[in-house]
Symmetry: C2
Subunit: 349 residues, 2 copies
């Protein structure tokens, strides 16, 4: 039996990655409570800002970046600062997202704003963004630093555009499936695309291949986010680190809900109208309606379609060997798929 | 009679600067309401996001950057993208600051969060930061782009550290004068230092001179912020664009208050204790106490001391001629000083 590809990557790079993230978090002023709050968000400090090791998420973004750097036989370590910047940017967006959604917990712990208030929460996010933006420029070759730095900030801008769309959906009576996919392609997928692209770029890969790798990351990012939507409704607190049903309680217009609403008739239609209007909804009723309308399996089909697009992009790159197999395995794991399920699109090497 | 040096700069560079800021704000998606909200903050859109020309502040930071670029005979235009990034970064900090302080108005108009809510307000700030970080990398020479980009993000990080200190002062019973100066040296002065440094760096100036110019900017930034504190208490709405007395109403621990509290005895001491505790204070009483304890003239002395440090740094640079005179004139104007007042420290060329 194969072990988890992400666990493999974690065991190869985890401690180096932790050490490098902590190095950046200690800069420029290790001692301030401000740095402590940033360390808390990343899982290196407890609520009193004392050192600890708390759950810190899968860290799949920086690990993907390091893996992508190995494409041409490079050591992943070369992309370590870029990997750090990706994880810091992701955490910046989580800190602000938690304020915007008023989420009280994340990764089994209170959120930053819940502990230290909204004003400091906003500022902790800002600090993480600044630190991420500084770390991404720590590449010895100036031309590479500029190319990677520009792409990083373009990704960050797309991320805020996606966040704008996500929030503007909240006050709307309906959202089309295409609009939803467009939103997550910015909010989530652009960053996953950057991870793969930047790692491979630092590893010395040619422009001709880089585009395909970025496409792979983007499709994977979409598939991952939709899988995450599924977990947000049907996953346990243990799996997600959030209170179960948070998305439903916040009347989030996630893909399972949008797909079910599309085919709802009669009483079901009214259930979703109330949900979309943000009215106090009967959570059990919404869940039962989603199940009856096959929302879960419909959504899983969309995950699979996007995963297949990701794997096709990999094949189009013309690259082969262990590197590609590793990327494929990570893609399967991130989207909750058994490799066999999509074997038709997997290279038969 | 000399005209205003900032007005001179504005007439030389204002329209180019406006055009370049608007170019960046139109990127990558001109049409979205998100870009519209960013344009609103910069003064280019009204509340319905239609084009307008609203008050946009003095724009002294980008103008200082352009002026500094002229040091060795360069055209200021070369630093135009960097100047834009400085103005965008400043506006990012204002948007978040307004949320954190719950300020309802800025530059005679409602603040972004007041119009579109806190969640979107946080995101508009994030978008401006991302755009600023992208614009700062638009320098043709890669080595220069990396040096300026790194310094920019270090400045942004100092800015968030300063903001952390400023907010943490709110819940404290006392703040020492040194702590206050330390806070504004990060929150305000680091960015002014960056403006002068980056402009001169792009203009081709040697390392030996750059440090003195950055020091000039930092001291000037401190003097400017303290002058701004004075205006926040004794300035009119017309001069500041804010509701008069906002700082006092928010029980802000600005320098005039800290200086007066230091020498307060008896009833005056209790007035400031209540103020520092954030209790509902009698604004007229606080104002009367500040006046009676000479807080304004004491604070003006501190402005002058820091302005003198700025001008000394300029002299130490060994640079001379019109360039230095222009920087001096801007420094006088920004700190509300008549040039003659500090003539002892002004080069007699």
């Amino acid at each position: 039996m194969r072990t988890s590809p992400l666990a493999d990557l974690q065991s190869r790079y985890g401690s180096q990655l932790d050490a490098r993230i902590q190095k950046w978090l200690a800069w420029p002023e290790d001692s301030s409570d401000f740095a402590g709050m940033m360390r808390y968000q990343l899982g290196y400090a407890d609520e009193t800002l004392k050192p600890t090791l708390a759950p810190s998420g899968k860290r799949f973004r920086p690990l993907l970046c390091l893996l992508a750097c190995e494409a041409l036989g490079c050591r992943g370590e070369q992309a370590l600062d870029t990997a750090v910047s990706v994880e810091l940017l992701h955490n910046f967006s989580l800190v602000h997202d938690d304020i915007q959604d008023r989420d009280p917990s994340r990764r089994h712990r209170p959120t930053v704003w819940k502990l230290w208030g909204e004003p400091q929460g906003i500022n902790v996010g800002d600090g993480l963004f600044a630190l991420a933006s500084r770390a991404v420029m720590a590449i010895a070759d100036a031309e590479t630093a500029v190319a990677v730095g520009k792409a990083f900030q373009e990704t960050a801008l797309l991320l805020t555009l996606g966040q704008f769309l996500d929030m503007s959906f909240e006050s709307r009576a309906s959202v089309a499936i295409d609009e939803y996919i467009d939103m997550i392609s910015r909010k989530t997928a652009a960053l996953v695309g950057f991870c793969v692209w930047s790692g491979a770029r630092i590893g010395g890969m040619d422009e001709a291949f880089l585009g395909h790798l970025r496409d792979f990351g983007r499709w994977l990012g979409i598939a991952y986010q939709i899988h995450d939507d599924i977990m947000g409704i049907w996953g346990s607190a243990e799996e997600t680190g959030k209170l179960p049903g948070t998305d439903l309680r916040n009347c989030k217009k996630t893909l399972p809900v949008l797909l079910a609403a599309q085919r709802a008739r009669g009483g079901d239609e009214r259930t979703f109208e109330a949900y979309f209007a943000g009215a106090a909804v009967d959570l059990d009723l919404v869940r039962e309606t989603l199940d009856r309308l096959d929302a879960r399996s419909d959504t899983e089909d969309v995950v699979e379609t996007n995963l297949e697009s990701a794997l096709s992009a990999l094949q189009r790159s013309g690259l082969d060997g262990e590197f590609i197999e590793n990327l494929q395995s990570v893609a399967f794991e991130l989207t909750g798929q058994a490799p066999a399920k999509s074997s038709g699109t997997v290279s038969n090497r």
